[in-house]
Amino acid sequence: VYQNVVAVQQMARRSICSSARRQVENKVPQKQKVFQEDNGMPVHLKGGSSDALLYRATMALTVLGVGFTLYELVKASFPQKKD
């Protein structure tokens, strides 16, 4: 049992050490290159296709939302008489 405990302790120490060594890389210079590229794209789309996807989803919700609001407000303005 004692040998098992020691083995688990050694494994735990190894995995903690390796995760502590995993450094976050400085990607700012790469990002600066991407966003300073002279491609005429506005900043909200300059990051690539995921920007465009998020933009389209947000705009779809915006348009749907305005429609839904108008519908609910018109519905609320003409209350149905209960029989």
Binding site: V43, Y55, T69
Partner: protein, 263 residues
Amino acid sequence: MAHQAHAMLYSVDPSPSPLTGAVAALLMTSGLAISMHFHTTTLMSLGLVLLLLTMYQSSRDIIREGTFQGHHTPPVQKGLRYGMILFITSEVFFFLGFFSAFYHSSLAPTPELGGCSPPTGITTLNPFEVPLLNTAVLLASGVTVTSAHHSIMEGQRKQAIQSLTLTILLGFYFTALQAMEYYEAPFTIADGVYGSTFFVATGFHGLHVIIGSTFFAICLLRQAQYHFTSDHHFGFEAAASYSHSCLMSYDSSFTSLFTDEAS
């Protein structure tokens, strides 16, 4: 000369965020009204989702403009600082309104309240229990945020990350304690003017602590990704100023809202 001054400023690219943000506000407000009459939260929830999407995309774009495109020159930063100061000032006045409401009712208590403050029938919270602990927690977070700031200015990356993390944890601890106090309180928001002023003031304050913690969490992510330099880290300074003002408002609450005898 004029041309030089203008080269240091910049105009933002056209963005959909003002429109989507405005529509989010429309959906949330109409949705709130609809939810009160028809017991359906769909519209309001849709507005909230749209708000979160707008907040994410607009702050992402500002980070791109500043950190990746280099547009936040010293004159631009000055403008951003003015903007943050003006916004914080407006928040201070927002809280002053709620304090006015409290003092209006507590300094000259009406016969309906029993002619005394706190009103008859209200069992107040002991200010030297959880409220005092909460004050200490927020003050401690003021210390850790100052430590984080100095670490950033000295270029000490690891220490800055540690201090920022501790600041956020203290913010969460405050929120957890406050939630517990709310659950255990012997009076509710419906208990007369005392209950109303207490829960609206402390409630808005608690929301601002959550906003501060979120702002710091974003700063932590940015610090980890090397966005901040030792002499350019305005996003962090904005978060710190906002949280310090939040802390000041809690200290004022503590000395007024939490007293257990007539003030």
